[in-house]
Symmetry: D2
Subunit: 148 residues, 4 copies
C-alpha cells in the first residue's frame, strides 16, 4: 500500500528482515546465545524498520519517546557463535497510542525463536510525569499493519 | 515446608528476594534502564534462589543444563541510575521436566515490572541432540511451588 | 585525611573495595567472564566510591559530565560463574580537569586483573561543543589521591 | 604477500575494516556509546579478520583458545545512536605464542578512538591448568603483521 507525501508516492512500512551474525560476546558459558540477546536482536530490527520508514526511533523532538509496555520470547532452537540468522519483525497492531510487533528469528529456514514487543508513544517534559499521547501524524502515517 | 536430607531437615526453596542497585551501564540514552536488563535481573534472582537451595544452575555434572523455553516482562514504571529496587522471584509451577517462575520488581513498595520465565531440564551429550529429561531428584527435591 | 564541610569533619575518599559475584550473563562460551566485563566491574566500583563521597557520578546539574579519556586492563587469571571477587579502585592522580584511577581485581587473595581509567570533567550545554572544565570545588574537595 | 596452501596462492591477512552502526542498547544515559562497547567493536572486527583468513576464533579443536592478556582504548570523540562508523583492526605484532592488534575507529574520516588488544594461544584440557602454547602452523600461516 502507498501514501502520498510531498507529492511523492511512498511505500508504508510494515515489515523488516534483518540479516545478522552471532557475535562472541553474545554467547554464554552454555555455548549458545544468551536468552536476553534475542530482545536486542528484535530491537535492532525494529530500529531498522523505522529507518526504512525514513524515521529514527529517537526523534529530533526530544520530548517524544517510545518506552516498552510488554515483551516476550519463545525459544525453539539455540543459536551458536558465528551462526547467520534472520530477524523478521512485522507490525501486528497499531492503536492511537501503541504499536505491537511480532518477530520471528530463523536460521537456514528453520524457526529459532518468536517474540513480541508492545510500545507506547509518550511525551516527556522535564519535571512533568511521562504520559501516553497519540502518535504524531508524521510518524503514524509511515506505518501500517502487516498482512497475514 | 521441609524435607529430610541426610537426616537433616532443610527448608524447600520457593522464593527469593534480591536487593539490587541500577548500574550506569544498564541505562540507555532515554535515561532509564534498558528494557532487556530486566531479564538479567530476573535471572540473577533465579540463580540466587538456586544457591539458597544449595545448588548451582551450572551443575558440576556438565551434561545437564537448563535452557529457557519462554520469557516475558510487563513494564509499569521506569528505573533510573542508582535506583535501589527489589527483585522477587517465585516458583509458579514445577513439572517433571520444566519449571516456571514469576517475578516482580518493586521500588519503594511500588511495582516496577512483572515477568515470567519457563525453563527445561535437558541432557547435553557431545554429538547427540539436546533432549529434555526429568529433573534429577537431588535438584527436584530442593524446590517447591510458592504459595499464593 | 579529613576536610571540613559545613563545620563538620568528613573523610576524603581515595579508595573503594567492592565485593561482587560473577553473574551467568557475564560469561562467554569459553566458560569465563568476557574480557570487556572487567571494565564494567571497574566502573561499578568507581560509582560506589563516588556514593561513598556523598556524590553521584550523574550530578543533578545535568550540564556536567565525566566522559572517559582512556582505559586499560591486564588479565592474569580467569573468573568463572559464581566466583566471588573484590574490585579495589584507588585514585592515582587528580589534576585540575581529570582524574585517574587504578584498579585491582582479586579472588581469594590472588590478583585476577589490573586496570586503569582516566576521565575528564566536561561541560555539556545544548548546541555547544563539549569542553573540559575544572572540577567544581564541591566535587574536587571530596577526593584525594590514595597512598602507596 | 602470499602463501601457498594446497597448491593454491592465498593472501595472508593483516587488516580488516568493519562497517558498523551504533545500536540503541549500546548507548547510556549520557546519550553516547558506553566506553566499554568499544572493546566489543574491536573484538567483532578481530573475529571478522579471522573469518577473512578462513578461520574461526573458536576452532573446532576445542582444546585451543585465545584468551586476552591486555587491552586498552583512548577516546577522542563520542559516538551517538545510529552513527555509522568504521573499525579498522591491524596486526601489530605476532610472536610464537601471542598476537597484538591495533585498532582505530573513525566516523566520517575523523578518529573516534584507538585501541589495542594482546591475546595468547593457550591449550585447555579438562583438569589441567591452562598453558600458553605456540600458534598451530595452520593458524600462524594465515596472518602477517600489517605494514606501516
Amino acid at each position: 500500500m502507498t501514501s502520498t507525501i510531498n507529492g511523492a508516492t511512498d511505500k508504508l512500512q510494515s515489515e523488516y528482515r534483518l540479516k545478522r551474525r552471532v557475535q562472541f560476546a553474545e554467547t554464554d558459558l552454555a555455548g549458545f546465545v544468551h536468552f536476553t540477546r534475542f530482545f536486542r536482536y528484535m530491537e535492532e530490527a525494529e530500529h531498522a524498520l523505522w529507518r526504512e520508514a525514513g524515521l529514527s526511533i529517537v526523534p529530533p523532538r526530544a520530548e517524544i519517546g517510545f518506552p516498552r509496555l510488554a515483551t516476550s520470547f519463545e525459544y525453539f532452537r539455540p543459536l551458536k557463535f558465528e551462526d547467520e540468522f534472520e530477524v523478521c519483525i512485522r507490525i501486528a497492531e497499531i492503536t492511537d497510542k501503541t504499536m505491537r510487533y511480532q518477530c520471528v528469528l530463523t536460521k537456514d529456514g528453520e524457526k529459532v525463536a518468536a517474540g513480541s514487543l508492545t510500545m507506547a508513544c509518550v511525551r516527556k517534559v522535564a519535571d512533568e510525569p511521562i504520559r501516553m499521547i497519540s502518535f504524531p501524524p508524521d510518524i503514524r502515517d509511515r506505518f501500517e499493519v502487516a498482512n497475514g
